[in-house]
């Protein structure tokens, strides 16, 4: 875009940035030009001709497509002339030549651009009497998406999205010409992590998503804007519900974060909300050893008396709390306040040992925002496969690489979703990260060109755990290196939705709310004054709590939406700790591996059912809103915790709104955040919280362990065995089978072929699974996706045997 220029639209002089497309310039000045194929987040194609306007030229007025025509100085444009109207009528008459007009049974009916624009710009009658094209309708092009080719108007929005934006072009026009249709390749379904976006942008009812098909008419839906809690990108969503049931999520276009897109996990992970297995009443373990339904009073009384007894006998240090990384900030804050203030224990942690460390997450200097990717010249990604863990961040990096000219450097043990668009790809074996970093920093050998690329700033370094077997120190070391680069910012990433928010709320042994070091006595005193009760000194983190449970020094544990037995990388240690059966209370949606042994399980309200805020991986605080009630007797976490606090002689605050105000007062980094601002004011796109006061200087202290011939890469996949996935029918069937992935050289050295059944043995167990061959793996590596039902521990040492 260059200097502003002047043009005339329908007799009105307007200014627009030079180079801007006419359709957009007109829209920004209040003139809406009808369109089907043009989408503001994709390149124009001029495919549908609906946006025709008249432009005056030296040889008179000509019809041009306003979506492919840039504005020019002195341009005179007519968008409503008789000629334009005639053209629009003609275009619509043609678009409807083959359209089946089955609006009454179409999910799009009522919110369909084709329907609406036919009403506003169409001819009213068609001159075509010929037989229409017929296709089998609808066909499933993936587990989630159905295609009705008769309704398709061939606008190429879906194909352009999957090619330009998501980079997995699995749908295309075939039989182009008179018989053009959208389709997939035989046996190659539209299995994209982003397929739901095509359903959202299809301007007709040709693409529909199975979870929503025939569930509602659009005019019956109520909507509220909220934040997707499924990962820490924090995409904005419109939650749409009818009759107290969430029926779909639609991406909201926020420039700074998701730019309108969602991943399919975020889009479709709402079915678990009304899953039959969801807990709807408190459960208390009876004398017979089984969990029985109970009333709230009974359950809370029991918790208060048992925890009171533990504190009286063994002191508050025998109590601990885990979780909060899936909760709202208000819930996490209430949890932290209950533990640190009311119960007096410093044993609390929201991170489950699978992230790059709370210090880096909360305290990194020069934190990058997602939008910094728009300006970055070089992007270093040394962390998880973003496509599997933080999908929409993957789209933003991809956009930087493919549309904005950034050079991406990917360092990972196997191919990631970004490799195809990366300028440099570095492979290494887990356990050789420190050596690889050293070679990279020195620009040794084949890494000289990679090192040279990193000299072009601005640099954004996305840093996290590549896998769970690798030490978290490596991420710190990578961040430390990245900060030595010219004009560099660092984005530390962890997966779970609100892990940074929970840490910021003080659900961490060493941090008080608002990124304040808990070791600082003055800060504790200030917080104690605000809370009106003493604030516990730092205690144990997750691994300390698990070992305390195992050795009996921790006697009572509260779990807030947290399943360490399934999610902790060292599942064996977690299972051993939970086997010791301390007094266990779980606030959760489902029974899971950790709370099956609980003494009390409390059903909670969750996403779409409570109001609150979430903090994404940039530190952007966004609002989550309520549109449906919880199920059965479930209650909001803050109310449950307040009732519990009252029974223990304390208080944590009455309701989430009051807690939100308290957070702004006591948490320095959150001083500027308020619900009002987020809902109505400058914070509609979220408020990025200030850095500090706690800061962490990353250190290059990682060293490589000595490992054998094979090391384990324990990576994550988008659809895994998580309860929110397995409880919803649509996503549950997408989780892949666990497999031991080997480089072909290793496979042939060991004498394995694809499909062979093998036993994989790690530091904490063995599991039987099939061999898969993956030529993209670093040699000497066994890749095993985490949380797919096979658990062998998270040590680097691994063996594969027949």
């Amino acid at each position: 875009m260059s200097d502003p220029i002047k043009l005339t639209v329908d007799g009105r002089e307007v200014t627009a940035p030079g180079g801007q497309l006419l359709i957009k310039a007109a829209e920004e000045h209040g003139t809406y030009i009808p369109r089907f194929c043009w989408h503001p987040r994709m390149k124009p194609v001029g495919m549908c001709r609906m946006c025709l306007v008249e432009v005056e030229g030296p040889r008179g007025k000509v019809l041009v497509t306003s979506c492919t025509t840039p504005v020019a100085e002195g341009m005179v444009v007519h968008t409503k002339s008789d000629v334009v109207k005639k053209a629009q009528e003609g275009v619509l008459e043609f678009l409807l030549v083959n359209h089946p007009l089955d609006c009454p049974v179409c999910d799009k009916g009522g919110e369909c651009p084709l329907q609406d624009q036919t009403l506003s710009h169409g001819p009213g009658e068609s001159r075509f009497v010929e037989e229409k094209r017929h296709f089998e309708k609808p066909i499933a092009i993936s587990e989630l998406v159905m295609l009705d080719r008769e309704r398709c108007i061939l606008c190429a929005r879906c194909t352009r999205f999957s090619d330009e934006i998501s980079g997995d072009p699995l749908i295309e026009f075939i039989d182009r010409g008179n018989h053009t249709q959208i389709n997939t390749f035989p046996d190659e379904p539209f299995a994209s992590y982003f397929s739901g976006n095509t359903v959202q942008i299809c301007p007709v009812g040709a693409l529909t998503a199975t979870p929503y098909r025939f569930r509602a008419r659009p005019w019956d839906l109520e909507a509220v804007e909220s934040t997707c809690p499924q990962c820490s990108v924090g995409c904005r969503v419109s939650v749409q519900a009818s009759q107290n049931q969430v029926l779909r999520l639609i991406g909201v276009d926020v420039d700074a974060t998701n730019q309108g897109w969602l991943c399919d996990k975020g889009r479709f992970a709402f079915e678990h909300l009304r899953a039959p297995a969801r807990l709807s009443t408190p459960l208390v373990r009876g004398a017979d050893g089984e969990l029985h339904e109970a009333g709230w009073g009974e359950a809370l009384d029991l918790i208060a008396s048992r925890i009171g007894a533990v504190i009286a006998e063994r002191g508050p240090a025998a109590v601990a709390g885990l979780g909060g990384a899936r909760s709202t900030n208000e819930e996490a804050y209430a949890f932290g306040k209950l533990l640190r203030g009311v119960l007096g224990t410093g044993n609390l942690d929201a991170s489950l040992g699978d992230d790059p460390g709370a210090a880096l997450l909360a305290g990194v200097p020069h934190r990058a925002t997602i939008d910094d990717l728009e300006r970055a010249k070089t992007i270093l990604v040394w962390g998880p496969d973003l496509k599997e863990e933080l999908p929409v961040l993957h789209l933003r990096v991809r956009r930087a690489a493919t549309a904005l000219g950034a050079d991406v450097v990917v360092v990972h043990p196997r191919a990631t979703g970004l490799d195809r668009d990366a300028a440099h790809v570095v492979r290494y074996r887990p356990g050789e990260g420190a050596a690889t970093l050293q070679r990279l920093a020195a620009g040794e050998g084949d890494l000289a060109a990679v090192r040279a690329a990193l000299d072009t700033g601005p640099v954004v370094a996305i840093v996290g755990r590549t896998g769970l077997a690798e030490s978290a120190d490596l991420a710190d070391a990578v961040a430390a290196f990245a900060l030595t680069l010219a004009d560099a910012k660092v984005m530390p990433v962890a997966r779970r939705g609100n892990v940074l928010g929970a840490i910021d709320m003080g659900v961490h042994p060493h941090l008080l709310p608002g990124r304040v070091a808990a070791s600082d006595a003055a800060a504790r005193a200030a917080l104690a004054a605000a809370w009106g009760c003493a604030v516990a000194v730092p205690g144990r983190d997750t691994s300390g709590i698990l070992s305390g449970m195992a050795d009996g020094s921790i006697a009572a544990v509260l779990l807030l939406g947290c399943d360490p037995v399934a999610d902790h990388p060292d599942r064996k240690a977690a299972a051993a700790a939970f086997d010791k059966a301390p007094f266990l209370v779980s606030l959760d949606l489902f029974l899971n591996e950790s709370n099956r042994t609980a003494d009390v399980v409390l059903p909670v309200d969750t996403f779409t059912e409570v109001e609150g805020t979430m903090t994404n991986l940039e530190g952007r605080v966004q609002k989550s809103n309520r549109i449906v009630p919880g199920v059965g007797a479930s209650r909001p976490v803050v109310e449950i915790l307040e009732d519990l606090a009252a029974r223990l002689g304390g208080s944590i605050g009455a309701g989430a709104a009051a807690i939100a105000k308290e957070i702004a007062l006591v948490a320095p980094a959150y001083a500027a955040v308020s619900w009002e601002a987020l809902d109505w004011g400058r914070g509609r796109d979220g408020i990025v919280v200030a850095e500090g006061p706690f800061t962490h200087t990353p250190e290059r202290r990682a060293t490589d362990p000595s490992v054998g011939a094979l090391t384990l890469h324990l990576g994550r996949v988008l659809y895994d065995g998580g309860t929110m996935i397995t409880a919803g029918p649509s996503l549950a069937r997408l989780a892949p089978e666990p497999a031991a992935h080997l480089h072909p050289d290793d496979a042939s050295r060991l004498g394995f072929a694809a499909g062979d059944r093998v036993t994989v043995t790690g530091n904490a167990g063995s599991a039987a699974m099939a061999v898969a061959i993956d030529p993209t793996l670093a040699r000497g590596t066994v890749y095993l996706p985490f949380n797919l039902g096979a658990s062998i521990g998270n040590g680097l040492e691994v063996k594969v045997e027949k």
Binding site: D168, P169, L170, I171, E172, F173, I174, D175, R176, G177, N183, T184, F185, P186, D187, E188, R420
Partner: protein, 203 residues
Amino acid sequence: MTWPDTTLARARDIIARYPEPRSAVMPLLYVAMRHDGRLTDEGMRQVAALTGMTAVQVESVASFYSMYKRHVGSHVVSVCTSISCHLLGGRDVLAAVSDATGVPAGETSADGSVTIESVECIGACGGAPAVQVDYELIEGVTPDKGAELCRWLMTAHPEVVHGDDLQTRFGGRRSFPAGPPDPVGAMGPYPAFGPLGTTGGEA
């Protein structure tokens, strides 16, 4: 990869001619047809793997062009029915060819030896009516000669069809006097195109 090394090597040679591997998709589709005798899903997958495209992107290209054929016999006989040929009896040639093979235009004989099609102008109007066998041109074809040509294809099962030879045996008056002899023949229902390795005799 299911292609033999020689075919893969040829494919890689073709890819090397272009700045982007995907630009080679069209010649590679002929290589795929050469390998399977027709266009198959497996062939398109192979082209996709070699060019870094997805299989459906390859199909999008392949399904646009009528010369990439999914269903085709060992030879394809294309009878021109555009204006010049039409005026000089192209329709009769087509009818005779259909009679001789027992299949209408657009279909393949029961034994799989020939596919008959009617096509638009093939650039031999001066020698109308014109016919192609595997895109090797024959001009001045009469209905009788057309039928004879088909019977020959169905009984002799030639490995290679060669334009000059076909013209001598089944053709008539040509647009232009014969040019320099063309030694390149076609080995199946795709054009004989030297750089692709589909020339007569070559593996």
